[in-house]
Symmetry: C2
Subunit: 395 residues, 2 copies
């Protein structure tokens, strides 16, 4: 490697490192480890038989067309299905304002590529989704956290941050946030949309978990209140069908979409034709709402088991969030807790979690734990908490 | 959109525009248009029944694992299959040096992201692959063409260009190049590897068409001579199985691979688990070499039909390349030919091609045509050339 290339590499890769989560997942791949790490949906709830039938139907019905190059925007009937679903939920979007992507992670990459120059500021919740931090770091973004409480980010704090930092966009996960499980309240969503309009602030609304609500009432998306066209709404089939198909999407105003489309072409031409047709056939030949209900029930049960086990076993000085959906719960330990040190002892006892530190884009956060409850049975959740709580009491 | 964001957009999107090819493809989607445009493989040769059987087997054998998140590097048995195949062809690569990507187009995006800052120089053949130009333009690269003749790029020209421009890498398509169909000779491949080692030049060797040779003898890849670890070898299943699965790969030295892996995680986490498992099952449960032989025979026949029809019909002043494989043939018209103007008249006569202009990264090239012959039957090729030649004679 030549000297100037090495220097570029070093700068560009700067703070980037392989995801801590992925490193932990390698350790926890053994079946005897009870893992609250990772963010895997429950595989026993994947509609495997239905996907098999859909794959067969697609290759019978569409033949070679299912395997040919397709439009960069995505398979039109799937875009139409997505747009109709958004409209049912009170979001104004036409099929031409929807683009199918290779997972919602790809939207973060495309949005970063479109908006970010080195040193540009992104506003985020604090803590926020680790892979969003990593994606925007690729473009050498700076992160400015928005003050956050139990109802999500605090909109009143936005105007001063906008004036001071001139952020390129606000990145937010309003429903059952990753990593905290917190939900942004309805009045705050309306306020974010209003402030975005007043201050010309682009909002990237990432909603992978919105359909996984197991208690309480649905709250409309920020984009529901977005009359000014400032909100890019992002979601995925990873949690409602299966993540291995890598199907996400973005709904965005036409001027933004035209630019994202050019970047999508350059990034991978288009998302798998086969996976798009399989998903569309699955969605239209089955009852995806009934399937979702099963997922919600299972996750709600697992959340209740985890919450109950934590109440029974964690020592004083620990508290945690009470999510109404999604896959994660967020534990705050005593101020002197070092969650990385705890993780070392936990892995020795065959239980794992993700230390909260890496979710704080501006540093700090060493006394937090993220616990995933979607990917373990109630029995294993109880046993895992027993092991973890013993370590917390010993520590 | 705020003023500073608009300015950024304008600069960033600079010379970028939706692919001319894709715009032409929209016009030529009607079945009565005979299209030499696009770069579609022959869909009637896709192994549809075999893919259907593979999809069924994958969901039966792997169950939910085929639909779960997977490693960013790709499905290990598929990486092993690719590495073994590379070794058989004289390229040194282990499975850990292979990463599966969302089409080979994604490699261009990841490589651009890793190496390129605004204003950085990429050396390319002249003309070169349009979507590579677009991908590297995303990172605001500059292009410096390497002098090229009937045996491909001229290695002797490289040292002076390296000293003058300090390019971040050389991008080359040695086999049946897109758009020209030209093949880089064996001595020149060895010379490129030697010069790359001497000058610390990274070489991105893009080889989507190498297995589509229908006459002449295979030539080892540049990477075959790459003892210094300067060559990143890129290929795809798009032309040997089907493009709709969006499966490409890169083989690269470990230090480069470690960095590309972080960028891959940030870009889309990983490539479709389902498509990777389907491809691996297809490759191991069938005879892909026999299937390739069918493709080669068909493309060789179509090339011969196209070449013969051009000889019979094109007026004086036109010449064209004589590819030994791949999907494209390159026509040089009279100096005063305006291929864009010809295209307008051609579409009115229900025949289409791609004007060569957009393949020249440094401008020029208005009297060239790219003709694809993989996606039309011999009969339609003959009729298409009749229509096109009449226009050339009239023009």
């Amino acid at each position: 490697m030549s000297a100037d290339q090495s220097a570029n590499f070093a700068r560009r890769m700067g703070q980037m490192r392989p995801s801590t989560i992925r490193e932990i997942l390698k350790v926890t791949a053994q079946p005897d480890v009870i893992s609250f790490a990772g963010g895997l949906p429950a595989p026993e709830l994947f509609p495997v038989a239905e996907v098999r039938a859909a794959a067969d139907a697609v290759l019978t019905q569409y033949g070679s067309r299912a395997l040919q190059y397709g439009p960069s925007e995505g398979f039109m009937p799937l875009r139409e299905w997505i747009a109709e679903e958004l409209v049912r939920r009170g979001l104004q979007a036409t099929a031409t304002e929807v683009m199918v992507t290779s997972g919602s992670q790809q939207v973060l990459d495309l949005v970063g590529k479109l908006f970010l120059d080195p040193g540009d500021v992104v506003l985020t919740e604090n803590p926020t989704y680790l892979a969003a931090i990593q994606s925007f770091q690729t473009f050498e973004a700076k992160f400015v956290p928005v003050p956050t409480d139990a109802d999500g980010l605090i909109p009143d704090a936005l105007p001063a941050l906008i004036r001071q930092h001139r952020p390129k966009f606000l990145y937010t996960i309003p429903n059952f946030q990753n990593p905290t499980g917190i939900t942004l309240s309805a009045p705050r969503r309306a306020a974010v949309a209003r402030i975005a309009a007043e201050h010309n602030l682009t909002v990237v609304e990432d909603d992978p978990y919105g359909k996984l609500r197991y208690r309480g009432a649905d709250i409309p998306a920020i984009k529901h209140w977005d009359e000014a066209g400032r909100v890019l709404y992002v979601s995925t089939f990873s949690k409602t069908i299966a993540p291995g198909l890598r199907l996400g999407w973005i709904a965005a105003p036409a001027d933004i979409m035209a630019r994202l489309l050019i970047l999508k072409q350059a990034a991978d031409l288009h998302t798998s034709s086969f996976d798009q047709l399989v998903a569309h056939t699955y969605l239209t030949q089955n009852d995806p709402a009934a399937h979702l209900e099963k997922i919600r029930q299972a996750y709600g049960e697992r959340y209740a088991v985890l919450d109950g086990a934590l109440r029974a076993a964690l020592p004083a000085g620990y508290s945690w969030t009470t999510p109404e959906g999604g896959m994660f719960l967020w534990v705050t330990g005593p101020e002197n807790l070092d969650a990385m040190e705890l993780l070392g002892r936990a892995i020795a006892q065959k239980v794992a979690f993700v230390p909260g530190r890496d979710f704080f884009p501006a540093g700090g956060g060493k006394n937090f734990l993220r616990l995933n409850y979607s990917n373990a049975t109630p029995e294993r959740i109880r046993e895992g908490v027993r092991r973890l709580a013993a370590l917390c009491r010993a520590g």
